[in-house]
Symmetry: C2
Subunit: 714 residues, 2 copies
Amino acid sequence: MSQMRSTVLLLAAVVAGCGTARTSNEAPMPAPAPAAARAEAMPAAPAAPASSYDTIRARPFDTGRMWTFDVPPLDHFQRTYGFRPTQQWLDNVRLSVVRFATWCSASFVSPEGLLLTNHHCGVPTLDPVQRAGENLLTNGFISRTRAEERRVPDLFVEQLVSIEDVTERVAASMGQDGSQEERQARQMAVRREMERPDSANRMRYQVVEFYNGGRYSRYGYKRFDDVRLVFAPEQGIAFFGGDPDNFNYPRYNLDMALYRVYDENGRPYRPANYLRWSAAGAREGDPVFVVGNPGTTQRQLTNAQLQYLRDVSQPAQLAVLNAQRTSIQRIGQADAARGLELRDNLFSIENSIKAITGRRAGALDPALFARKVDWERRFRAAVQGDPARAARYGAAWDSITAFQAERRALAPGLLFNAYLNSGPLGQAMALVRAAGGEAQFRTAAGAPLTAARGEQVIELSELLRVAQRNVPQDSLLRLVLAGRTPDEAATQIVSSYTLADTAARRQLLAGGAAAVQASTDPVVALARQVAPLVMARQRAMAAINVRETAQRNLLGRAFYEVYGTDVPPDATFTLRIADGVVKGYEANGTIMPWKTTYYGLYNRAYGFDQKTSDFDLPPRWETPPAGLRLETPFNFVSTNDIIGGNSGSPMINRDAEVVGLIFDGNLQSLPGNFIFDETQNRTISVHSAGILEALRTAYRAQRLVDELVPPARR
Amino acid sequence: MSQMRSTVLLLAAVVAGCGTARTSNEAPMPAPAPAAARAEAMPAAPAAPASSYDTIRARPFDTGRMWTFDVPPLDHFQRTYGFRPTQQWLDNVRLSVVRFATWCSASFVSPEGLLLTNHHCGVPTLDPVQRAGENLLTNGFISRTRAEERRVPDLFVEQLVSIEDVTERVAASMGQDGSQEERQARQMAVRREMERPDSANRMRYQVVEFYNGGRYSRYGYKRFDDVRLVFAPEQGIAFFGGDPDNFNYPRYNLDMALYRVYDENGRPYRPANYLRWSAAGAREGDPVFVVGNPGTTQRQLTNAQLQYLRDVSQPAQLAVLNAQRTSIQRIGQADAARGLELRDNLFSIENSIKAITGRRAGALDPALFARKVDWERRFRAAVQGDPARAARYGAAWDSITAFQAERRALAPGLLFNAYLNSGPLGQAMALVRAAGGEAQFRTAAGAPLTAARGEQVIELSELLRVAQRNVPQDSLLRLVLAGRTPDEAATQIVSSYTLADTAARRQLLAGGAAAVQASTDPVVALARQVAPLVMARQRAMAAINVRETAQRNLLGRAFYEVYGTDVPPDATFTLRIADGVVKGYEANGTIMPWKTTYYGLYNRAYGFDQKTSDFDLPPRWETPPAGLRLETPFNFVSTNDIIGGNSGSPMINRDAEVVGLIFDGNLQSLPGNFIFDETQNRTISVHSAGILEALRTAYRAQRLVDELVPPARR
C-alpha cells in the first residue's frame, strides 16, 4: 500500500490547482529599485483596533517570511532577534538541508549521513522495502545495526550547492527582435541550456523564477541516490489522531523518520555540513528558523483572482469532494471490509476537504480579505504613482479581473466534470482521446478498472448528482444524462460497458483512431460525442491561462521593482529560511500552549478509551513505556511561515541546532496559501527532546540516540 | 474577599437583563389541549442537509429538556432510554436535591447530611468562615473531623417537599369584574397569601409561574439553615485554567465542595433521601439526568425580541464591558499591585464578555436563527389555524415586534449610560435621586468611593469614550461632556468633586431634597440637570416593558394551550430534571472526547510550564500526588440541558447514583439562553471517580471517601 498525507497531499493539490503555470516574460526585466527608493514594504500595524473593514490595513509579512538564500534578510534578523547570521552559518544550514525526493525536505543530523524527515514524507518509501509478512506502516521499522538499514529503490535527495543570479542572462536572452513567440523560444532555449545536468559530477541545475519573473536564479543541486531507511515509528503514533487531529493543535504526533545517505561506494556518506541535535530543544520565546522547500503559495494573487478561487473554484472542488466522500461512505456502509480498504482514499479526500475549507474560510474572513484589499491598493498606488511604471504595468489588474469573468462563464461545466473521469466513462474518454493523439491518456486507457461494478455505479451516480444539482443546464451533462436520472444513467453506463476487460481495451487502442471510431461499445460511442466538447472547453480555459499568466508576470516584475527583496517571493519548492518565534496563540475561546507533552498523548488516547482507530495507540505505546518522562515536550508551535513541501524541514535555533521537526500547520495556517497571519498561523513541530525520549524509551534505540547526541556532548 | 464565578455570574447577568419582569395575567387561563389535539411539538429533523436557510426546520427539543417534577416526561424517557422512572424514584431524587442559598443547587450524598455542590458555588462561603492567617480560597479547606466543620453564617438550603397545581386558583382569583389593575391586584393578593411561610415547620412557599403564565404551581420548601463547610479544594485546582478555559472543554477542574447540613439540635441531619455515589461513574453513552435549579432561559422569545437582543442590547453591553476592561487594564499597567487586586473584577468582566459574545454568536448563526424562525412560524400557524385562538392571541407577535421598534428608539442613550454610575458622578446621581425620594439609591449615595482619583478618571473617561463613539449625538452625553473631550470631562468632574468624604455626603443627604438642591458641588449640580432626563427615559422604557410583558403572557398561554407539557417551560430557578447522554462532539475541526483524565491536567499545566497564574497548580498538585491513577476520568461532557443556577447539580444515572457533578457548559452551550442545540451544546461535569481519586490521594481525606462510598459497598 502507499499512502501520502497532510502536507504532501496539500502540496499536490496546490500544484494541480490554478495559478502555477508559468510562461516566459514578454519584456526585459527592469532592475529593482534601490532600497531607499522602495515603497514601504512593511506598513506598520494600525495603532487602534479597526472599527470597520475599510480601516483595516495590510501588515508587515502579509506576503510571508519564506526568505531565499540568494538574499537572506540579515537586517530583518538583526532588528528582530539581535542575530546576524554569518555567511558561514548560512552556508552550513543550506548545505545541511536537502530536498527529499520530489515532495518533502530533510536534513543531515549526524556526521555519518543520518537524515531526518517526517514519517508522512517517508510513507511512500515503506512499501518498496517491506518484506513478506511485514507491515511497516502499522508496526514501524527499527534497524538495530547499519547492516539492517534498507535501501529504498529510486529514492534520492538533493543538496543545494550553488546559487547564481541569472536575471540579466535570462532577460538578455529574449532580445528585442522578432515576435513574442520567437523571443519566448530564445529565452526557453537559454534556460534549457542552463539547466543541462552535469552527470559526471552528479549535479543537476534548475533555473528558478521568483516574483513571477521578476528575478531568476540558477540553482545547482548535488544528487544522492543511495538513501536507506533507518527508523520509522508506527503510523499509530506518527499520525495519532488521524483525520480529526490533522491540521489541528494541540497535537501529539511522533511524525519523524530517519534515513541514511550512502556514498557511491556504499559507505555512509560523511557530510561536511550537518545540524547538531539540541537535547533540550525549543523553549518558549526562542527565535527559531525553518530551513526547507516550501512548495507553492499564491500570495501575489490579485483580489479578483482570490475571489474567483473563493467563490467559484473552491466551492466546486468541495462539492465534488463531498460527492466522492459520499460514494466511499455508501460503499463502506454496504461492505464494511471494503470500506476499510478504502480508508486511505477516504482520508485523502477528507484531508483535501479540510484543507480547502480552511483556505476558503480565510478568504471569506472579512478581516483577512480586507488586508489583501489594502495590500493591493498600496501596491497599485505605488505603480500608478510613477508614469513609466503605470504605462508598463498599470493595466494588468483590470486585465486579470476581466479574465476572471471569462473564467466564470466557462468554469462551471469544467469544474463539475469529474463524472467524465469516473469508471467506464473515464476509460472510454481516455480511449477516445488517446486514439485522437493525446498520448498522455494512453496509460489511463489501458489501466484496469479497480472497483467492482456496484462501486462504479455509486461513484458515477454521485458525481452526476452533484453536477445535476450545480449545473443542471450544462450541455455536456445533458448529453451524458440523456434525460435519465443520475442513478439510471450510472447504472446503464456501467452495465452496457463491454470493455471492462483490459486486454480487449488495449487491443482496441492498438487499432488506432479508426478502431476506436468504429467501436460499437455504447460508452465509447458516448465518449466520442462528449470528447470534442470537453476538449474545446479545456482549450478555451487554457487560452485564458496563457493570457492571464502574461499579465501576472507583468505584476510580478512590477512587484519586484517596487518592493525588491524586502518582501520574499512566493514559494517555489526551493530552499528557504523562515524565521519565527516559539509561541502559543489564542483560539477556540482559550489559549493554546506553546507545547504539548506525553501527558497529553495519554489524555487524548484515554479520552476516547483508545477505542476508535484514530486514537488507538500501537502496542508499544498503549501504556507509557518504562522510563518515559511524561512531562517531556512532545509537539510545539511557532510563528514560522511554512507550506506543503516544507514537510520534513528541521527547526533550528541560532546555533544551527535541531530543536524540532516541523510536520504540519494548524487550521489557522490554511489561509497561508494567500496571506500569512502570524497572530494565529502556527507551524507544528515534533520537539527534539520528545524525539530523543521516544527513541530512548519506547524504541530502546540507543544506537540512534548516541549518534544524534554523542555521549561526549551530553 | 468574595468572588463568584462562571455560571453564578451568568445567572446574575441573565436575571439583571431583559425579559424577566413578570406581571399577572389579564384573562382566565384556558386549559391545555388534550394530547391528541396538540400541534406537533417535536418536529422531526429534516431528512437531508438543508441547502439554504429557508429549508432549515425547528428540531425536537429546541426549547430544551428542563422538565418539571410536576409533569415528568415519562413517555419521552421510556421512548428514548427504555427507562420509566417510578414515582418513588422521582420523589427520591427530588428530595435529595436542594437549592443552595439563592444562587446554586446541591445534593445530599450521604445518610449523614453530606452535601455536594460546586466549589464556585461555595466561594462566597469561604470568606465568612476564614480565620486569621488563613486563605481558604488559595489553600483550600479540609476538615479532618466533624468538629472541624465550620458553620457558614446565613447559609441555607431549601428542599422541595410539596408541589401543588394552582393554575385554576390563580386564574379564578382574578375574577371577571373590574379594571385590569383591580383584577391584577386580586390575583397578587391570592398569590401572596399562598406564599405565606409556615415558620413553625420551617416551610416557605413559592407560586411559580410557568410558560409566562400558562401554568402555576405552589412549591413548598423545607429550609435548613445550619450548613457547615466540610471540604473545599484550592481555587487553583477547582478553577484550573481560569478565564481562558472558562466555558471551555476539554477541561480539568476539581470544581466541587462538600458541606454538611445539621439539624436544629446541632447534630448532623439524617436525610430520608440522599443519592448514593457511583465509584465507577459516568461511561460513554450512558443516559444521565441532571437534577437542579436552572435560573433563567429565554427560549420563548419571539424573533423580533431575539433580534433586538442581538443587534441592539448585546452589542451595547459588550462595548461597555470592553470599556470597563480597558479601564482595569490601564490601571493595572500603571500599578501592577493594584492590577492584581482588581483581578477578580477583571475576571468577572471577562466572564460576562465571553458569555454574551457566545450567546450573540448563537443568535448570529444563520442556521440556529433559521430554526427559531421555523419554530415561530409553526407556533404562529397553530394559533392562526384556530379562530378562537387567533382572536385571543394572534395579534401578540406584531405587538411585540412594534415594541422592539420603540425600544430601538429609546435604547441607545440608556444602554451607553454607564458613565452615570461611575465614581463621583455616580455618587452625585445617587444623592440627587435619593433626595428626590427614590429610597433604593440611599445606600449608593452614602457608600465610600473605593477607587483612587486616578482610577476614577480612567474609568469615567473610558465610559464616556465608548458613549461618544456609539451615541455621539445623545443629548444626555452632550450635557455631561459640555464640549469637552472624555478625558477633559472625566478629569474635571473627578477633580472638582467636593463630596468624596463619606460623612460630608451623608450629612448632605440627611438635609433632604432642599440641602441637595442647594449644594454648590459642581458634580451634584450636573447630576441635578441630568437626573430628570434619565428618569424620564427609564420611565418610558419601563412602560414598554409592562405592555410587552402583557403580550408575552398572552403568547405564553397560547404556547401552553398549543403544546401543553410536551415542551418544558423556560427555566425559573426551580427544580428540574434534564435528561441527556454522555457523549463527545465535533468542534474546532476535530473531535472532543467524552472525557478528560488527570493526564490532561498535567499536559495543560506543563504546556504553560506552570508559569501563568491560570495554569499554576497549587503545591499539593504541582506533580501528581502519590498513588494518583492518571488515567482516572476527571471531567466529562453530556448532552444535558443546563443553565446558570444549575451549578452544583448532581448528574445521576438511572439508579439515582451520582456519576458526576455539573459545573459549566461549553462555549457552544452559550446560545442555550434562546435555543437548545444538542449537536454541540454540552454540559461539563466533574466525574465521580475523579472526585474520589482526588479525595483519596491529593487530600488523604479517607473519612470523606468512606462516607461517600462506605467500605461495605465497595
